[in-house]
Subunit: 174 residues, 4 copies
């Protein structure tokens, strides 16, 4: 049962939050128009092919235009030396959330790859479970800029542990 | 046998290379003087407590003042959707190498934590195994700046897949 | 008159926005408590000593606990090859805004220095003027993590050009 | 005479150094083949159109395939509050050096823009002059990854003050 998720301790209301940055883009009269109406199916199919997400017990809990969330339980097999979730695994969850947020806005015949990302670790990743959020800040034809956040979940409380600023690239099938 | 390392395909001569940046610091007459002569034991003991390194089958192949290398085999359990090593696992290896490079120069009664890092992914992480290098660029009392590199190993050939620029912090025991 | 500001084209209502991240910290019951009640005087005095801000014609338009805004006019003397504001000057404005946001929460006898930052350029910095926002995401005793944004101002409209993720350090006077 | 360069205090022998990373790429049998033999003329022409370089008194001291260096004098007009060169100006020099290093490998009918960069500030930028180095780590059709360094020059001695990891994009003329 090591991989059981903790959906009951995820504060669902957060899913309805809009970040300041996305609000700004909306205020600039640029809402997201996904070119592929089946983006959620495409995102979930790609996530199903990620060995690492299944190994981490991670689950896509939200997929919508320009945004994706992942939840995963804590597991000592992915800890650093003090017993917290390793910064690289924190990164894995945020990178996947950002990549899939970007992928929602890409065309049907395409793939998404990470170009680069930057992570600030704000607090030890200590919790029963974790929730990663990825949001698109700027969507371009080739490059998409995203922000990610990682929340630790403990006793139904969430706290921000890490933030990411990332660039994703769209590889179009020939 | 899934976790078996491939030491025979690691080009050992790379271990003797000095990066341009470290050379510059040396040229400034600032060689590294580790305050704790037992730094290697301390680094290896800390690495032994990282659940994630054991889960990845990673092994410290070099520890010296200001530098640490890790090697790990490829494993589909940590792949992204195209079957390459996930960018977050690439990060895990470079972050650990950088953290331990920094830790070699910290005092005996201390811990090392990652403050932040930035990763550029240069090529798909495709190989039979991987080697991460971490080197100290600037060692300070509180903060240490490191650079990391991740090489894919294929048929005894190494190719650079990713680079990292990272900040580590020294937490002194009270 | 080259350095004249364009306060009339700055949308003041933005000053009342709260970012998602700061909201999260507030939600965690961690509002900002500046240890120095005279933080605004201290911030403005430090800004007055920055040669670069005076050279750029930049002005601090908002200083409050955990937040600082700067406005500057466009000036061809700071352009890149296509006639837009150079990415390094975009960075200068965001770095100063982030540094002063962090400095509002530092003690009276201290200095602030940038440890590192990461910038994504979302759109050409093209406008009559620019507004930089800096906000504290996480305030610690030694390190403070901030996010910065740069808006181009054109005909009273603002658009997001660049984002920053930065780490600042507090140097205490002895 | 404020803008006079200090070529006599620049250690020219550094220009002959090869970074570890570029050496690795060379070792992988991937030397740089600039598609445009007139890349130096093209780079110098673009630099001549940068208002900011002329304002800073910066000069391109080296342009070769995959590499560019800039030198600039110290000037109090670009200082931060402690009298050192502002981190944003440090960034301006490294960003331009990296951008032009990337531009040497781009086709004749193209432009170069910065996508993103990350800077670590290692020491106060204190000196009579400064030298920025930009080098290509990975050259792709669309994106180019570079590393930058900023050296302070004092009494003919150079010391490393800052490092950059940057992504540049090639915009092809239609």
């Amino acid at each position: 049962m090591q991989y059981m998720l903790f959906p009951q301790i995820v504060k669902r209301h957060r899913s309805n939050e809009h970040s300041d940055l996305r609000g700004t883009i909306d205020a600039n009269m640029k809402p997201f128009y996904p070119p592929d109406p089946n983006f959620e199916t495409r995102v979930r199919s790609s996530a199903g092919m990620q060995g690492v997400l299944s190994t981490l017990g991670a689950e896509l809990t939200l997929v919508r235009a320009g945004e994706a969330h992942l939840t995963a339980p804590f597991d000592m097999r992915f800890s650093q030396q003090d017993g917290f979730l390793h910064a690289g695994i924190v990164t894995t969850l945020m990178d996947s959330a950002c990549g899939y947020a970007a992928f929602t806005l890409m065309p049907a015949a395409s793939r998404v790859l990470s170009v680069e990302f930057k992570v600030n670790l704000l607090a030890p990743a200590k919790g029963q479970g974790f929730r990663a959020e990825g949001r698109v800040i700027k969507s371009g034809r080739t490059l998409t800029v995203c922000e990610g956040k990682l929340f630790a979940i403990e006793e139904e409380e969430e706290s921000l542990c890490a933030i990411m600023q990332a660039t994703m690239i769209c590889i179009r099938d020939k």
